[in-house]
Amino acid sequence: MYLGPDDEKIFNGEEGEIREKMIKLLVNLGEIYGADKLIPIGSAQVSGISYKSIGDPGMEFLEDVADKGAKVRVLTYINPAGMDLENWRELGFSEDFAVHQMRIIDAFRRMGMVITATCTPYLSGNVPRFREHVAWAESSAISFINSVIGARTNREGGPSALAASIIGKTPNYGLHLEENRRAEVVVDVERELKESDWGALGYLVGKMVKNKIPYFRGIKNARVDELKALGAAMAASGAVALYHVEGITPEAHLQSIDGLERITVTDSDLEKAYETLNTGKEPDIVIFGCPHASIEEINTVAKAVEGKRLKKPLWICTSRAMKEVANRMGYTQTIEKAGGKIVADTCMVVSPIEELGFKTTAVNSGKAACYLPGFCKQNVVFKSVDELIGMVVE
């Protein structure tokens, strides 16, 4: 792998131990995957933030890196934490969990990362441009920026995204290269998709195509929130980092689909996906916002619960930035009046909800429906927003 003179200096330890270690990580990973060089990145996004996910080993590693003076070189956001960083006590998180979580957050802050704690950085101030190289680690955000924006990132892990952030570069391989961004499977969608259907479709296709690049046909229109849900579910049930939608995503017209494998998704396929994902019946809690809710999604829930009374807890997970706007718009107040909450900085997948006494969680997200049984020992009810709210109003 070619290293420029500046890279060599870091590699030889001239800029300190931690930068040497970080560039070695990038170079070694690059060599494993056949990269020719390191390329500059426009931004980074780091995963492995929740104390529930990384535990003491992760916390101690990150504190070590921060103690040694490592600083980010590019705009860097972090993934959701294991709890709301401000209202954790009120939501029932334990003191012990909170203390450890805040040590992790403090380490990231000392490195110069932006403490947004969101899986949708592109909704709150970290947006790459078309064809910009970046190093992101949140699977749903990777899928979104590769596919909907046409930026370029591999599926980074927590440490490799951290190293990229501290060096300001990433190894040039995989989805950074034009030739690896080509469609590999054609997916014909035969149903007009509504609401949670996008997550159901994503769940189904991710399972079928695994880490291949699907090319969707038959989707006439798609809102950003819908593409966010589709990509998130495909990245969870499979390892899809990039997809194309004919007539909608920016690199779709560059694809040649002759001779590719074809899959057709029918009405009944989607109904079966709902059946598979619905492992529970009566929800103990309803949680929206996986990936983190946009302001429009918060508004949708606010409208649906306005003037009603909820008999079960309802959370909307979002970024702190969106919550601020929801407060200003009065959405938060409407939702709280009905008995729900807007929870910022965290999400149901990375927070210890099983320890809060919930056994069955209702969601409108294909990604959440896919992860909750394993990560949080939850039974799942997977339906649209209106259907779910219908289940829990008095």
Partner: protein
Amino acid sequence: MMAGKEMKGRVIYFPPELEEVEGEAIVSRTPLSFYGGIDAKSGIVIERGHELEGKNVKDRILVFPNGKGSTVGSYVIYGLKKNGFAPKAIINKETETIVATGAILAGIPCVDKIDTEEIREGQRIKVMKDGTVYSTR
């Protein structure tokens, strides 16, 4: 030079200050998960039912086909080193990113593309800077 087998592997990481490391093999025939599999504060394998359960990896040449499980495993490898319970080297059939990342961050010699079936528990193993692995008979 030790009498025995010579195998040529690929270097994932080798600390620049070392030329070679030598130690006794601890061998797993099945994949190993570091997160939830090995206790970073003792070096003991804690995965229930794993063939190495209860054994300690400290100062041994840890041999297994490939890693598995959570990406947090990288941090566990780092923790083992920091706490003084790290293996002297890691030898794999195929080093995936979790183990590669952990070995690099921790500074533990790591070599792959080695037929791990050829190494027995308790054998004396030498790992060279160029990725050559020697085992005694």
